[in-house]
């Protein structure tokens, strides 16, 4: 890797100040994407601002019907958090399927969401759960956060510090992994929150998106069979050596059905457990 200045602030305020001061600085959250990118010389930042010393960013709390998850909560932390498992088990399950165990021990929710890799899992959850992205400057609704491939609403110097994720009535994530990379070839997160159904799709296009036809059908009837009449338009979807457009469009519908079935099952189990 090319050399860089390594900075390790203890607070988000200090981190933001450093980011403002250094041109061409990058935030190191878990490094699961940044470091491989730097190793391949696809990125060569002059400075790295490591957030690992900002202890507050790792916390996960429940506040007024929403989970508040710090940006530096690792996938493993989210997957094993009793709070997350109790309130949004689909989010814990998603975190538990990201990458492999070693990625989950380093990678963070903030890093994943801020990177907005088109095949990342978290953006689907953030969008479908209608979460709010909390930054050093403001809060941004999920719907406004994801712009395009590797592009978000984050402004220069702005750092994601956490997420406010409303507890859903029902939710589930179904992923079809690329056989090679194990990233999502297609991942579909289905959630019903306060009566409103949202369905977010990752892996299929240049950025995570909401499948509005699917949502409409599920809004009417939250059941896999409600999707029998719905299809996904393949135009605009990704096509590569692993999956052509038509196949991806098919996978969106298959994964959507599976997610709905799982959400219903989760809800059933949750109800049983609760009683």
């Amino acid at each position: 890797m090319k050399s860089f200045a390594y900075l390790k602030p203890a607070t988000t305020v200090a981190a933001a100040a450093l980011l403002a001061k250094h041109d061409d600085a990058k935030i190191l959250a878990g490094g699961m994407t940044l470091l491989p990118t730097m190793k391949q010389s696809l990125a060569a930042p002059a400075a790295i601002i490591d957030l690992s010393a900002v202890a507050a960013l790792r916390e996960i709390e429940l506040e007024e019907g929403a989970l508040v998850v710090g940006a530096m909560a690792r996938h493993y932390d989210v997957a094993s958090s009793a709070l997350v498992r109790a309130h949004i088990p689909a989010l814990a399950a998603l975190a538990g399927q990201i990458g492999d165990p070693q990625v989950r021990h380093r990678g963070t929710i903030g890093g994943s969401v801020a990177n907005n890799d088109p095949a990342a899992d978290y953006p689907a959850a953030i969008l479908a759960l209608d979460a709010t992205v909390i930054t050093t400057r403001r809060t941004v609704a999920a719907a406004a956060f994801f712009v395009d491939m590797f592009e978000t609403a984050l402004e220069p110097g702005e750092i994601v510090t956490g997420f406010r994720i409303p507890v859903a009535e029902m939710a589930a994530y179904a992923k079809f992994r690329s056989p090679a990379s194990r990233y999502a070839l297609v991942g579909v997160f289905v959630a019903r929150t306060a009566g409103k159904v949202r369905v977010a799709v990752t892996g299929a296009a240049s950025s995570v998106f909401r499948a509005l036809d699917v949502e409409a059908a599920l809004q009417e009837r939250f059941d896999p069979d409600a999707l029998d009449r719905v299809s996904m338009d393949p135009s605009g979807l990704n096509s590569d050596i692993h999956a052509d457009r038509d196949y991806r469009a098919n996978l969106v519908m298959v994964m959507a059905r599976r997610a709905v079935a799982a959400a219903l099952q989760n809800a059933g189990q949750g109800a049983t457990k609760g009683q």
């Binding site: 890797m1 090319k2 050399s3 860089f4 200045a5 390594y6 390790k8 190191l28 490094g31 699961m32 470091l35 491989p36 190793k39 391949q40 790295i48 490591d50 690992s52 493993y76 990458g99 492999d100 165990p101 070693q102 990625v103 021990h105 380093r106 990379s181 194990r182």
Partner: protein, 158 residues
């Protein structure tokens, strides 16, 4: 930069460049060559070590990130300079869980981490857990067998 860490149960202070990866510190600077590099896309798992007790890819972690923490490599699994093997190492030996040996250190570190979390993993759980470890020689058959046997031996050792 000066960093201090616990490495295989011993305190170590070293000077590193910020751009140095943990695996480079281990292999190049500290000559602990049991940790291997098998790819450049963070997928093969040959470089697995434990950081603060959890398996991580040392090719995708900065050496400076280990400052103040504890790192264990395959060399630390069994007592230094002794032939007394860790139960998981012994299980790989007993069950022919290795051929060329290149992926083996990563497999061992991964397996020990798994058993620390799940003392009695099923075959399916072992296969799932090993998602981040590639082996080209064994077809995984005897690796899975070794991990299950190693888990039993670790339970017995407790």
């Amino acid at each position: 930069m000066e960093i201090s860490l616990t490495l295989n149960a011993r305190p170590v202070s070293v000077s590193v460049e910020p751009a140095m990866l943990l695996v480079e510190l281990l292999r190049e600077q500290l000559s602990l060559t049991g940790t291997h590099v098998g790819c450049d896309t963070s997928q093969c798992g040959a470089c697995l070590v434990h950081f603060n007790g959890e398996s991580v890819k040392s090719c995708t972690m900065l050496a400076v990130s280990a400052d103040g923490g504890s790192v264990m490599t395959v060399e630390g699994l069994s007592a230094a300079g002794q032939a007394k093997l860790h139960p998981m190492q012994q299980a790989f030996h007993e069950n022919h869980g290795l051929q060329c040996g290149f992926c083996t250190p990563g497999m061992l570190m991964s397996a020990v981490d798994l058993v620390g979390r799940n003392p009695d993993p099923s075959e399916v759980e072992v296969r799932d857990w090993l998602e981040g470890n590639l082996c080209r020689c064994t077809g995984y058959h005897n690796i899975v067998k070794s991990v299950i046997a190693g888990a039993a031996a670790m339970r017995d050792a407790k």
